[in-house]
């Protein structure tokens, strides 16, 4: 029995190594969207809006292609991404909707007061359930959703200027045209 205790660290390590091996399997990409959601209807959500009352819901967004951005005031990369979102909203007039992921309303409001508000409307996902449904890996994450409410593209991590110019904007153009 006593010997088993000494064996424990080795066994725990083996489990861990198993996980690592699993994570390294070919074709696995931690940044990839769970394939189940791409080109499928976005998970339903109906969140209280940060400002001005009302809600932010999936069905309310239908009718035009939109960008949905998960962010949080406690998230560093979100601040890196923020100026780009501001540019998208102001220069390119992209409809961006924010979902404040596991964030307090006052913190989120403070962030936007400081850095500007690129969002048309913000939903509060306080318990992170909507993020869970979307399969959010970490904030920030950005989704392009078409007029029928289908997810067409997912960007994990802070958006870069290249991603915006080469992927996001052309996709939005295509979606608006069709």
């Amino acid at each position: 029995m006593r010997r088993l205790i000494y064996l424990l660290p080795a066994l725990l390590f083996l489990v861990l190594a198993g996980y690592f091996a699993w994570a390294l399997r070919p074709g696995y990409d931690p940044r990839a969207l769970p394939s189940a959601l791409l080109d499928k209807e976005a998970p339903a959500f109906d969140l209280a809006a940060l400002q001005g009352g009302g809600t932010l819901s999936r069905d309310g967004l239908k009718g035009k292609p939109v960008v949905v951005n998960f962010f949080a005031s406690w998230c560093v990369p979100c601040r890196i991404e923020h100026p780009l979102l501001m540019r998208l909203a102001q220069q390119d007039h992209v409809p961006i909707y924010g979902i404040a992921y596991k964030d307090k309303p006052e913190d989120a409001a403070r962030l936007l007061a400081q850095m500007g508000d690129p969002y048309r409307r913000i939903g509060l996902d306080r318990d992170g359930r909507t993020g869970l449904d979307f399969g959010v890996y970490g904030v920030p994450e950005t989704y392009v959703i078409d007029r029928d409410g289908h997810i067409r593209k997912r960007f994990v991590g802070p958006l870069t200027a290249d991603q915006v110019n080469d992927e996001l904007l052309p996709l939005l153009k295509k979606l608006s045209a069709s």
């Binding site: 006593r2 010997r3 000494y6 064996l7 660290p9 080795a10 390590f13 083996l14 861990l16 190594a17 996980y19 690592f20 091996a21 699993w22 994570a23 390294l24 070919p26 931690p30 940044r31 769970p34 949080a72 406690w74 998230c75 560093v76 990369p77 601040r79 100026p83 596991k102 400081q114 850095m115 992170g128 993020g131 869970l132 449904d133 399969g135 959010v136 890996y137 970490g138 904030v139 994990v156 991590g157």
Partner: protein, 661 residues
């Protein structure tokens, strides 16, 4: 040609490593002195070889040899010389070479400074280090060779990521790696002890200086990384619980536990198998950290380019190194005999508590870092945890820890007098209570955790001083007597005092971050921003050319009560080569608070976004870390590490037959 020499040197080092990891081991089990001595020469030769390879790569960088692929990808002729040199480890291949170089450095140091080690133990330690070196040299040569050629050679290189062109970051990796890799010595000692089947006070006395030295380097390395993030990222944060940061923090936590538990082995000859386990885990966490950062299993803000093939290789390395050593532990550790018994309320008991809390702290960081991966593996959703998780789990664990740090040193070995110790600490309670009261009053019952943090810092600082006063019998003996006692106090005791005091200073710095003030405004030149009683007036913004960038250089006057205190220059730097912009913050500090300015984007109309933060006590975070590392160095200078070794316990030598006999 020189690049090929570097490549050959690495191959030779691999061969030497093969000899180093086998011959001394066989020699030790057969008691063959000549074979055992091979380890020492091998370690020195491989240091020269890996050092040569390092120099060869540096030469390629300094001369901008664009026939070397690694230089093409990471350097440029316009880059300042400092960054040409430090660019050597600013990329995956070069940083792995630095890793192996540090390993060779440690092995050579063991070979040189181990005159008084029993030859068999020395041979085994060097053999284990040889094995680690072989693993990493294979990794470099097969998956990450920095000496590959590029043909045809391009006229110029692609340059180094502008964010990395910074003096703080230039010297952060060497310290960090020295810390990581330094723990390989403790690991090698642990494995050697398991092979020999013997751990005694003398063993702990040999291991401790190596552990202390690596701990100091790691402390400085982590502090530098956090300081860099603070002044470079432009919004004043200093710790992000990012996977890469956690990877360096976990070995630090367990390494801290190891330093403390090895004291118990040394003084009281007990907690042996636990200490061995800690030594194995500390280095294992360094390895796991390397794996996580390099394999792309976890995404991180500041990871190098990742590659699954490398991940698989490192995973194999982990299996052999960690799996092997833990299996050896499972087989051999039950035979290690515990020594002296102790009551729960004693110095030993306090150190056990310290170990438990630090290990639990490390476990929470570990879980928080790997949680996304685990959840994903069982089919759950992908998600990451971030700040809220760590603040809720790690911080509460550290509260009893900080209280304990104040009490522990006042307890006696074997059986401590807790009521007595608590009585002697009355000044510390008073200090904590007064601080709490003042903070409550000043902040009007502000953020409770921060107020508590201040109370803890005051408690700890005063408790540490009380312990010191107790030791030198301050106010109870004539002052001259106390001074004499202070001078003759062992350096290790002074080291502890400094390290614990440094912790208190850092804790105050952490707690104060709740009282940051910030202001952001769009200004025209001539406009000003008001923050924490200062007026920050934007005078003008000019274009200034730099070595390989063009900067928007703002002139900001800091005015208080109508007088100009200082003029500072936050910048935005545009690097045409990478088409990238970085911010250069301006920080004005008076050691009690930082005034932190970052220049944001400008628009066509000549408006500039200026962000400013007032951060009380934030410099204390790093000052505290430096005091802690200084304490480690002071303790390292204790003469007992050099002289005391001769007093090795001679009870056991013949009693335990060496394996293989």
């Amino acid at each position: 040609m020189i690049a090929e020499l570097g490549h050959f040197a690495l191959i030779l080092a691999l061969l030497v490593g093969c000899v180093q990891s086998t011959v001394p081991l066989i020699g030790a089990s057969r008691r063959n002195a000549a074979w055992m001595a091979v380890g020492r020469s091998c370690a020195l030769v491989s240091f020269v070889l890996v050092g040569g390879a390092m120099l060869a790569l540096m030469h390629a960088y300094v001369t901008s040899d664009f026939t070397v692929l690694n230089v093409v990808q990471n350097s440029h002729t316009d880059k300042p010389l400092l960054y040409k040199i430090t660019g050597v480890w600013g990329n995956h291949e070069g940083s792995m070479l630095l890793w192996v170089f540090m390993l060779a450095l440690c092995a050579a140091a063991v070979a040189l400074f181990s005159e008084n080690l029993p030859p068999a133990l020395r041979a085994r330690v060097l053999a284990v280090q040889g094995m680690i070196a072989v693993g990493f040299l294979l990794f470099i040569l097969f998956t990450s060779n920095p000496f590959l050629r590029a043909w045809p050679a391009p006229p110029n290189g692609q340059g180094l990521n502008p964010v990395l062109q910074d003096p703080g970051l230039a010297f952060h990796p060497p310290f960090l790696y020295l810390g990581y890799v330094g723990f390989s010595v403790a690991f090698a000692f642990a494995v050697a002890a398991l092979i020999e089947g013997r751990v005694d006070a003398a063993w702990a006395r040999w291991v401790r200086p190596w552990t202390l030295a690596s701990w100091c380097a790691l402390t400085i390395g982590i502090a530098m990384g956090s300081w860099w993030a603070y002044y470079t990222l432009g919004w004043g944060g200093w710790w992000f619980w990012d996977p890469v940061e956690n990877a360096s923090f976990m070995p630090w936590l367990v390494g801290t536990a190891l330093i403390h538990s090895s004291i118990v082995v040394e003084k009281r000859d007990t907690l042996k198998s636990w200490t061995i386990l800690l030594a194995i885990i500390t280095f294992s966490l360094s390895l796991v950290g390397t794996f996580l950062v390099r394999s792309g299993v976890l995404t991180s803000v500041h990871a190098f380019a990742t590659d699954p093939a490398r991940g698989t290789f490192i995973l194999l390395l982990l299996l052999v190194a960690i799996g092997g050593s833990l299996t050896l532990y499972a087989v051999r550790a039950p035979a290690l005999k515990g020594g002296g018994l102790f009551a729960p309320l004693s110095r030993e008991g306090a150190l056990v508590l310290n170990n438990l809390l630090l290990s639990c702290g490390c476990a929470t960081v570990f879980l928080g870092t790997l949680y996304p991966l685990f959840l994903d593996a069982v089919g759950g959703p992908k998600l990451s945890v971030g700040f809220p998780f760590f603040n809720r789990t790690f911080a509460p664990l550290m509260v009893p820890m900080l209280i304990g740090v104040g009490i522990g040193p006042l307890l006696a070995w074997k059986r401590g007098d807790l009521p007595g110790a608590l009585q002697r600490l009355w000044v510390a309670y008073a200090a904590a209570a007064v601080t709490l009261a003042i903070m409550f009053y000043v902040t009007h019952g502000g953020p409770i955790l921060a107020v508590l943090g201040f109370g803890l810092a005051a408690w700890l600082a005063v408790a540490v001083l009380t312990e010191l006063a107790d030791r030198v019998r301050l106010f109870r003996a004539p002052i001259g007597d106390s001074a004499r006692r202070a001078i003759h106090l062992p350096r290790a005791a002074w080291g502890m005092t400094f390290a614990h005091f440094g912790l208190a200073v850092s804790v105050a710095g952490f707690a104060a971050s709740a009282f940051d003030q910030e202001a952001i405004e769009v200004l025209r030149p001539g406009g000003s921003l008001h923050l924490a009683g200062y007026e920050l007036r934007l005078e003008d913004v000019r274009k200034v050319p730099g070595a390989n960038f063009i900067a928007d250089d703002a002139t900001v006057r800091i005015i208080r009560d109508g007088t100009t205190i200082a003029t500072v220059h936050p910048q935005r730097r545009f690097f045409p080569l990478q088409q990238q912009t970085t911010g250069e913050t301006a920080i004005r500090t008076n050691l009690l608070a930082d005034l932190y300015l970052a220049l944001g984007e400008g628009d066509a109309a000549g408006n500039w976004t200026l962000r400013a933060y007032w951060k009380p006590l934030v410099p204390w975070i790093w000052i505290g870390a430096v005091i802690m590392a200084f304490g480690g160095l002071v303790s390292l200078s204790d003469r007992r590490w050099r002289v005391g070794v001769a007093a090795r316990a001679r009870r056991t030598p013949a009693a335990v037959p060496a394996p293989g006999e």
